[in-house]
Symmetry: C2
Subunit: 138 residues, 2 copies
């Protein structure tokens, strides 16, 4: 499995261990021109439910050589997906899932801290080896 | 020259043809941890001045196979750069430069339209062959 698939599966298992049911893998979102669905196919969004809460989860492995570059992409995807969810599935809350090691090495720096606050990015910090959610940061 | 360099040079020439002086190429922005400067080196921001107006310009060629994927990255970069400018150079206004052909083929779709409005992304639409700015969209 690729690093991306390993993290994707680890996030699923972490959510299930936290009492969530995976309802869509991938979650597809259609806009009028159909464009987003194609790209979401390559960057699968997960959807999960627990009691009456519904979430969508973007999983990023941050395995690229530059965490900052990958963060730019993750942020843009997150904010674009949030626009589509607001239109198509407004009850569902979007999260970005980040491995604990990357959170500690990168997300505590100034730029990601400022950016996450400014753009209200919600995080799920997970431990891919323990397959556990370490923290929900909202 | 790579496509990225060709567009970068075309944006510079278009700004100069519009009466702007290029003041920084690249414009470097330092945060406390120095991380952003490294990545801006790979994705050079331009800075220009005309009378008392100062701008920074992110140039995107949109030559990737998926314009939507490249748009995610462009949006994330734009919004992160805007955060750093707000801290370090608050008078300077950030623009995303987009070739006319890509603007017409992609940016009129629903997702980029919604996203540009929601996140207040300012565009410079330029013609790389004529080396002219076609429109400022603010």
């Amino acid at each position: 499995m690729s690093a991306r698939d390993i993290f994707h599966e680890a996030v699923k298992a972490s959510l299930e261990n936290d009492g969530w049911t995976i309802t869509h893998d991938p979650l597809t979102l259609d806009l009028a021109d159909g464009q987003l669905q194609i790209d979401l196919g390559a960057e699968r969004l997960l959807a999960a439910q627990r009691q009456n809460k519904q979430i969508a989860v973007e999983v990023k492995s941050f395995t690229a050589p530059s965490a900052t570059s990958e963060f730019h992409t993750a942020l843009g995807q997150f904010l674009n997906y949030r626009i589509v969810l607001k239109l198509k599935d407004p009850e569902r809350v979007l999260y970005l899932a980040v491995p604990l090691e990357i959170y500690e090495a990168f997300f505590l720096r100034q730029l990601p801290q400022l950016s996450i606050e400014e753009y209200q990015v919600k995080l799920i910090i997970f431990d891919p080896e323990q397959r556990m959610i370490v923290r929900w940061q909202t």
